[in-house]
């Protein structure tokens, strides 16, 4: 019998000093791996096409032819659950909906001007071709936004009407701020010493107030888009940047923390063991952490008050509404859960099974990122 051997192995493993998981580095490295794979696939396809073209040309020839701030999102994004199903956008708790005229929706973002929708030929955020944008305003009007990006991770601050992103122009990284309400570029700042990042066409960014955080490999750079000042911060891990309402998550021993990125002040500290992990709401007002080993429940903290409520299920089961409550779509109904009381209520609306486009049954919650 090998029970004794198994026990010895488990004991030895339990005694190991396991390092803290470098989640941002894993995402950056993973993206670089995928990008390399896509490039190889692309090169292979080009090679096949080239061979086929040569063959076709030869055949034709033979025939004879010669040819920041922590504020809730604006009212335009509604007061309840926001989610998409295929190319249909549901808002105001699922009671209202509009359709986006494209093949698929990739993700949505809460802004003070309305719901910014990223869409394109497919529902991929990464490696899926051009990323187009539309703004759904309070009255349900869909406005075209002239920005088209590809292979970038944009940054949004729910309290502002801006889309931030980076692009490389003549070998230089530039941070761009686009007012999605007026549909005009309001700032463009060069980041001259940004040299490498995780495989995107330009570094991923996050926006909070006047600061755009630029996720490069060596250090996270900060760009004040109003003044043009460029600096660095060591309060964020290099790579994929994540800032919500000027806040980010961190760790101090066995405590998980919410930290003010600008000041470094610890705003919330909760016991989480060595591997628990806080996730912030889009505006940074709330943070969730799985409470059970198997994701049986989730604790929802009010970061400023330090209080919390507990909900059933894993944190990834839920989305955030623009007005700061949690929701989920299950059994074709919307369940909204109060962050004050933890009580959940089911909406009367029955959600359709599909919503159009090339991925009609793809359900995506508002303001969640799907870069992977």
């Amino acid at each position: 019998m090998t029970e004794r051997l198994a026990t010895l192995l488990r004991t030895a493993a339990d005694e190991l000093d396991v390092p803290t998981p470098p989640a941002a580095a894993v995402v950056t490295r993973g993206h670089r791996l995928r990008r390399r794979r896509q490039l190889r696939t692309g090169i292979a396809v080009v090679a096949i096409v080239a061979v086929a073209s040569v063959g076709a040309g030869y055949a034709v020839g033979r025939v004879g032819s010669d040819d920041g701030a922590v504020e809730p999102a604006g009212p335009a994004t509604g007061r309840g659950a926001v989610f998409t199903l295929g190319t249909t956008v549901f808002y105001d708790g699922g009671t209202e909906h509009v359709t986006i005229d494209d093949k698929a929706i990739k993700s949505t973002y809460y802004t003070s001007a309305g719901l910014l929708v990223r869409h394109g030929e497919n529902n991929y955020s990464d490696g899926g071709g051009p990323q187009r944008f539309s703004l759904v305003t309070e009255d349900g009007t869909v406005q075209h936004v002239s920005v088209v990006t590809e292979e970038v991770v944009p940054g949004i601050d729910p309290g502002q009407p801006y889309l931030a992103y980076a692009e490389v122009v003549k070998g230089e990284v530039q941070v761009v701020l686009h007012d999605v309400s007026a549909d005009e570029e309001v700032a463009r700042v060069s980041v001259p010493d940004a040299e490498s990042w995780g495989g995107w066409s330009a570094p991923p960014v996050a926006l909070s107030g006047d600061i755009v955080y630029v996720g490069t490999d060596d250090v996270v750079r900060t760009v004040n888009w109003r003044t043009g000042e460029v600096g660095t911060t060591d309060r964020l891990a290099p790579g994929f940047v994540s800032v919500q309402g000027g806040r980010t998550v961190g760790r101090d021993g066995k405590q998980s923390t919410v930290v003010d990125v600008a000041t470094g002040e610890v705003l919330l500290s909760v016991p989480s063991g060595r591997f628990g992990y806080l996730t912030l709401s889009p505006d940074g007002r709330f943070a969730t952490i799985s409470a059970g080993a198997g994701g049986e429940s989730v604790d929802v903290y009010d970061v400023d008050a330090g209080t919390h409520v507990t909900l059933e299920g894993a944190s990834w089961d839920y989305g955030w509404s623009p007005d700061g409550n949690l929701f989920k779509v299950a059994d074709r109904h919307v369940f909204t859960c109060s962050t004050d009381t933890g009580e959940c209520a089911v909406g009367e609306m029955t959600i359709p099974r599909s919503g159009g486009g090339v991925a009609p049954d793809d359900l995506r919650y508002g303001n969640q990122t799907y870069e992977s």
Binding site: L33, S315, S372
Partner: protein
């Protein structure tokens, strides 16, 4: 309708899966730096397939297979093959009871890499012969023979109290 996994879900998954994967990696490799690199590589590869993961509950098992598969590819490298098993103490950095850990971890260090991986996957991760074969990209027969050889070596080092003689003949 179907939910697509989000970045937040992946990040949470990394935090949840890291300790278990790291421990497996360390037992396989006996080196903290290599274990960290292997774990990071396995999770980065998992990220590449994240779009297709529909059920978060399936992700840990998937990542474990990727980790074992990556380790197997490392073992196939010429530089790795040229390295001989060693009875030297693994690197420091472990808080432990010397009477337990030095014995079993040091004994593992004497095994060739693939035998070591087979033992860890079978007796630490509790995978079946078929699952170990799948994870390492080898046949079930090879898993059985490697297990047998490894247990014989470990029996010599750890004693029959840990691995009784009858166990050497049990292949599945």
């Amino acid at each position: 309708m179907a939910r697509t996994m989000t970045d937040d879900a992946f990040t949470e998954f990394v935090h949840a899966a890291w300790p278990g994967l790291y421990r497996t990696a360390y037992l396989m490799l006996g080196d903290h730096q290599l274990a960290e690199d292997l774990t990071q590589t396995a999770l980065a590869k998992t990220y590449g397939s994240w779009r297709t993961v529909k059920d978060p509950a399936a992700a840990p098992a998937y990542a474990r297979v990727v980790l074992a598969n990556t380790a197997a590819s490392w073992f196939r490298r010429r530089s790795w093959r040229n390295e001989q098993p060693t009875a030297q103490l693994p690197d420091a950095g472990v808080e432990h009871d010397p009477s337990t850990r030095t014995t079993v971890v040091d004994a593992l260090a004497t095994l060739p890499p693939r035998q070591r991986a087979v033992v860890v996957l079978r007796y630490y991760d509790d995978l079946s012969v078929r699952d170990v074969a799948h994870a390492l990209g080898i046949s079930e027969g090879t898993v059985k023979s490697q297990t047998s050889d490894a247990l014989a070596t470990l029996r010599d080092l750890l004693g029959e109290a840990v691995i009784p003689m009858t166990e050497g003949a049990r292949h599945d």
